[in-house]
C-alpha cells in the first residue's frame, strides 16, 4: 500500500470533533499518525464534505476459490490520494450474538492494521465485522490471516449472506430457542452458499429469540426466524401480586391489560388470568412484567419469508411461512435446513436475475410459492381471507391450465401482459 505522508486538511470534518458523542474524526485523525493512509482517507472525505460528492468507484476482487466477501473500492482521485487507489473492505463473519473475548478483538485489530488501514467497524448492518482499507494484495493477505486465525470471510453478491442473531439465551430471559447455535449451524451447514454466489440474488437469514425481534429480522431478512412458544405462557402469580403491590392496579390496567392486542388478559383480585388461546405471542405483557411472566415451556420459532428493504419494490416484510417449528435437537435443525434447500431450489430454478425471494413471491403469488415449497395453506398465514370474488377453482372447473397465477390472474391489472413471466 502506498501510504505517503500527507498533511491533514479537514476544516469541515473538524466540526465533527466537538459535541459529546464519540468522534470517529478525532479517533482517525490521531490514528493517521500511525497509518498515514488514513490521512488521505480523511482528506478525501473532507473533499466530499466540501463538494457533496462521492469519489469511490466499485471494483472487483476475490480471494481464490471465493466469490465474495471483499468489497473492492478505488478512489476517483487516486492521483491526489494514491493510498486510496485500492481501498477495499473485508467482511468477516462475526461471532453469533457479537460476543467477543478481548483476545479475539485484538486479533482482529492486528489483522486490520497489518495489511490495511487499521479501521474496523463493529458491525456492518448485515452483522459482519468490517475491516477497511486494503489494497489488492493486502486484501488477500488479510483473508489468509483471518483464515489462519480461525475466522472466515463474510458474504456479498448473489449468495447466502452473513447471518446475524440477537444475544438470545446467552443473556436474555425471553429467548425461545438458541439463536447463537442456530446461527452457527446455518452458517456452517450452508457455508458453501455463503462463499460462492450461486443464487439468483442475495439471501439473508436473521434470527431473533422472541417476537421482540431485536435482530430486526422481519424487514431485513429473506427468512426471518423468530422465537415463540405454543400453549400457555408461564405465570408466577406471586410475582404478579408483587408487581401489583409495587406498581399499583392502575398501572397494570393501563400498561398491561388494555395494551394486550387481543385483550386476553384480565385480573381477578391480584391474580392475572391469561386466555392463552387468544394470546398472539406479542411479548408485550411479558416485557412489562418480565419477572412474573415468561414465554411458555413448549418453545420453538415462527419461520417467515420474503423480508427486505427498499430497493425496487419498496420495503417488504416477511410473511408467515411456518407458524411453529421446533429447533431444539439436531434432527429439528436438519429438518429445517432440508426445508431451506427446497425453498432455495424452487426460488433459484424459477427466480429471475437480481430477484429477491420476496420479489419472487410478489411476482408469482404466495399460492404458487406454497405449492412450490410444499407447504399447506394455514389461516395463520393471513390477516384476512380474500375479499374479491373472482376466483378460479381448479376443483370446480375443467383443469385446462396449471399454475395458480395463471388460474387467478390479478383482477385489476388489465396491463398484466408482461407479468406472467414465470
Amino acid at each position: 500500500m502506498s501510504a505517503k505522508e500527507m498533511a491533514l486538511n479537514t476544516p469541515m470534518l473538524n466540526e465533527l470533533e466537538s459535541g459529546d458523542w464519540p468522534s470517529f474524526v478525532t479517533d482517525l485523525k490521531a490514528y493517521s499518525k500511525k497509518r498515514p493512509v488514513v490521512a488521505q482517507l480523511l482528506n478525501q472525505l473532507e473533499e466530499s464534505y466540501q463538494t457533496k460528492w462521492n469519489y469511490w468507484q466499485g471494483k472487483i476482487i476475490n480471494a481464490p476459490g471465493y466469490g465474495g466477501g471483499i468489497i473492492a473500492r478505488g478512489s476517483d482521485k487516486s492521483d491526489k490520494y494514491p493510498g486510496l487507489a485500492n481501498f477495499h473492505t473485508v467482511r468477516v463473519i462475526e461471532p453469533p450474538g457479537w460476543v467477543y473475548s478481548t483476545d479475539a478483538l485484538r486479533d482482529l485489530a492486528d489483522i486490520a492494521e497489518k495489511n490495511g488501514a487499521g479501521i474496523l467497524q463493529f458491525h456492518g448492518m448485515s452483522g459482519d465485522v468490517l475491516l477497511l482499507g486494503f489494497d489488492d494484495a493486502g486484501s488477500l493477505q488479510c483473508a489468509e490471516d483471518l483464515m489462519n486465525n480461525g475466522w472466515d470471510i463474510g458474504g456479498s453478491g448473489a449468495a447466502m449472506r452473513t447471518l446475524q442473531c440477537c444475544v438470545g439465551q446467552a443473556r436474555c430471559e425471553m429467548a425461545c430457542y438458541d439463536t447463537m447455535k442456530m446461527t452457527k449451524h446455518l452458517t456452517d451447514t450452508f457455508i458453501h452458499y455463503l462463499h460462492r454466489p450461486e443464487f439468483v440474488y442475495k439471501f439473508k437469514f436473521k434470527l431473533s429469540g422472541c417476537p421482540n425481534d431485536c435482530a430486526n429480522s422481519i424487514v431485513r431478512s429473506d427468512m426471518p426466524i423468530i422465537g415463540t412458544w405454543r400453549g400457555a405462557m408461564q405465570v408466577d402469580q406471586k410475582k404478579v401480586a408483587e408487581f401489583i403491590d409495587q406498581k399499583g392496579m392502575e398501572y397494570l390496567i393501563d400498561n398491561v391489560l388494555t395494551r394486550c392486542p387481543t385483550r386476553c388478559l384480565s385480573v381477578r383480585g391480584k391474580e392475572l388470568v391469561v386466555d392463552n388461546s387468544d394470546c398472539v405471542r406479542c411479548m408485550h405483557c411479558i416485557n412489562v412484567m418480565h419477572k412474573a411472566l415468561k414465554p411458555g415451556k413448549d418453545r420453538g420459532a415462527t419461520i417467515l419469508v420474503g423480508g427486505k428493504r427498499t430497493l425496487k419494490i419498496g420495503d417488504t416484510m416477511g410473511a408467515v411461512l411456518i407458524p411453529f417449528i421446533k429447533l431444539e435437537t439436531d434432527e429439528d435443525r436438519d429438518n429445517f435446513t432440508d426445508f431451506v434447500e427446497k425453498v432455495w431450489e424452487f426460488w433459484n430454478d424459477n427466480g429471475m436475475d437480481h430477484e429477491r425471494i420476496g420479489e419472487f413471491i410478489y411476482r408469482i403469488g404466495m399460492l404458487t410459492f406454497l405449492k412450490g415449497v410444499e407447504i399447506e395453506p394455514d389461516p395463520r398465514m393471513i390477516n384476512r381471507p380474500r375479499t374479491t370474488s373472482y376466483i378460479k377453482f381448479e376443483e370446480l372447473g375443467p383443469s385446462r391450465f396449471d399454475g395458480e397465477r395463471q388460474q387467478n390472474p390479478p383482477v385489476w391489472n388489465r396491463e398484466s401482459e408482461g407479468r406472467e413471466t414465470m
Binding site: 422481519i218 387468544d278 410473511a319 405449492k371 395453506p377 389461516p379 395463520r380 375479499t387 385489476w412 406472467e420
Partner: protein
C-alpha cells in the same frame, strides 16, 4: 297509445313532505331518543314528548298490487294512512296512537302474515336482487332463495338474540347488485365465457374488449367473421363481458356454485367499514330451497351467537378471535382460495410474528 307529453317533464323526486306521518312532520329534525319495545316495535320520542311507534315487519319485497292494497287498508286503519319501507325492504307501519299498536300487530301478523322483527340485534331482511324472475344475467334465483333462507332464519329475525345486527345479502351473479353484508351469498362461475360467434356481429366489438378487467378478450376473425376470442389463462370468470354482450355466455347450470362471505360491515361504528371475506365455497346451487346455504349460514350464526360479545358485529367477532378460530368453530375448511393472491393483496399476508399457537 304513448303520448309525446313525456319528454319535457323532468319532475324529479316526489314531494316527500306530503308522505310524512303527521308526527314525523311535526317532530322533523327534533327527535330525542328511541326505544325498542319488543322485537319489531320501536318508539321514537320527540323533544316535544310526542311518541311515534314503528312496527317493522318482514316484507317479501316483491308483491302483487292486491297485496299492496291490503297493506294500505291496514295502514289506513291504524296508521293515519302512513307507512314506509326500510333500506332492507322491510315495511314499517307508523303508529301515532298507542292504542292502535296491538290491533295493528294483530293485523300484520294475521291478515298479512308478515312477521315482526328485524330490529336491534337480529337477522334483518335479506337484501336481494332479481334472479330468474327478471334479470338477464342470473345464475340463480333471488326472491325464492331468500324466502327459503328466511324461513330457516326466522327465529333470529323475530328475536333480538344476537350480539349485534346481522345484515345478509344475496346476489344472483358476480355483479352483486345486492349490498354487502355480515353474510353474503354469491354465485360463482367456473368456466370462461362460451362465445356464440354467429350472434357476435350485432355487438359493438371494442366495448366488450374494453370492459374485460383481465384484458382477456381480443378481437379475432373466425371463419371470416369479425368476432372476439377469450384468452382462457387470463379470464377470471367474472362475467363482465356477459353483462355487455349476450353472445358471451358465462353461466353453466351444471357447474355454477354458490359461496358465502362474511364480515362485511358498512357502518363506521367502532371499526371502519370492511369488506366481506370468503368463508366457504363450492356450495351447490340447489333450488327450490337451497338447504346447503341455510346449513352454512346457520353454522355461522350459531358460532357468532355463542362467541360474539354484545355490540360486536360478525366481522368484529372474527377479527377478535382470529380467522384460524373461525374456521375451527365453523368447521369450514381453510383452502388456498382463501388466500388473497393478487399483488395488491400483499398486505393481507400475516407479516408479523403475531399468531395463535
Amino acid at each position: 297509445m304513448s303520448q309525446t307529453t313525456l319528454a319535457p317533464r323532468d319532475q324529479g323526486a316526489p314531494d316527500y313532505t306530503k308522505y310524512l306521518h303527521p308526527l314525523m312532520a311535526k317532530n322533523y329534525g327534533k327527535w330525542d331518543y328511541h326505544e325498542r319495545l319488543r322485537p319489531g316495535v320501536l318508539v321514537h320520542v320527540g323533544e316535544s314528548g310526542d311518541k311515534l311507534y314503528t312496527v317493522r315487519a318482514g316484507s317479501p319485497r316483491t308483491m302483487s298490487a292486491d297485496t299492496v292494497r291490503k297493506v294500505c287498508a291496514i295502514a289506513d286503519k291504524y296508521c293515519e294512512g302512513f307507512l314506509r319501507f326500510t333500506s332492507r325492504s322491510n315495511i314499517e307501519f307508523l303508529v301515532g296512537k298507542k292504542e292502535n299498536l296491538d290491533p295493528l300487530i294483530q293485523a300484520v301478523e294475521k291478515e298479512l302474515g308478515w312477521p315482526l322483527g328485524g330490529t336491534g340485534p337480529s337477522v334483518s331482511n335479506i337484501s336481494h336482487t332479481q334472479g330468474w324472475l327478471h334479470c338477464n344475467l342470473p345464475g340463480s334465483d333471488a326472491a325464492g332463495s331468500v324466502k327459503a333462507l328466511m324461513d330457516d332464519l326466522i327465529e333470529d329475525f323475530k328475536n333480538e338474540q344476537l350480539p349485534n345486527r346481522v345484515h345478509i345479502s344475496s346476489s344472483c351473479c358476480q355483479i352483486n347488485c345486492a349490498s354487502h353484508g355480515d353474510i353474503s351469498i354469491i354465485v360463482q362461475h367456473h368456466h370462461a365465457p362460451r362465445i356464440n360467434h354467429k350472434n357476435m356481429q350485432i355487438c359493438e366489438l371494442p366495448k366488450v374488449v374494453a370492459i374485460c378487467p383481465a384484458a382477456a378478450i381480443r378481437p379475432a376473425t373466425i371463419n371470416g367473421m369479425e368476432t372476439v376470442e377469450v384468452v382462457e389463462e387470463k379470464c377470471m370468470y367474472c362475467g363482465a363481458c356477459h353483462g355487455q354482450c349476450p353472445s358471451m355466455e358465462i353461466r353453466d347450470a351444471q357447474t355454477d356454485t354458490l359461496s358465502i362471505w362474511v364480515g362485511g360491515k358498512m357502518s363506521n361504528a367502532r371499526s371502519a367499514p370492511t369488506f366481506m371475506k370468503l368463508a366457504v365455497w363450492g356450495i351447490p346451487n340447489n333450488p327450490p330451497r337451497w338447504p346447503e346455504v341455510s346449513a352454512a349460514v346457520k353454522t355461522i350464526l350459531k358460532a357468532y351467537k355463542e362467541g360474539g360479545k354484545p355490540w360486536e358485529r360478525l366481522g368484529e367477532w372474527i377479527e377478535r378471535i382470529g380467522w384460524q378460530r373461525f374456521f375451527e368453530k365453523t368447521g369450514f375448511p381453510f383452502t388456498r382460495y382463501h388466500i388473497d393472491d393478487s399483488p395488491e393483496a400483499l398486505s393481507t399476508l400475516n407479516r408479523s410474528a403475531m399468531l395463535r399457537l
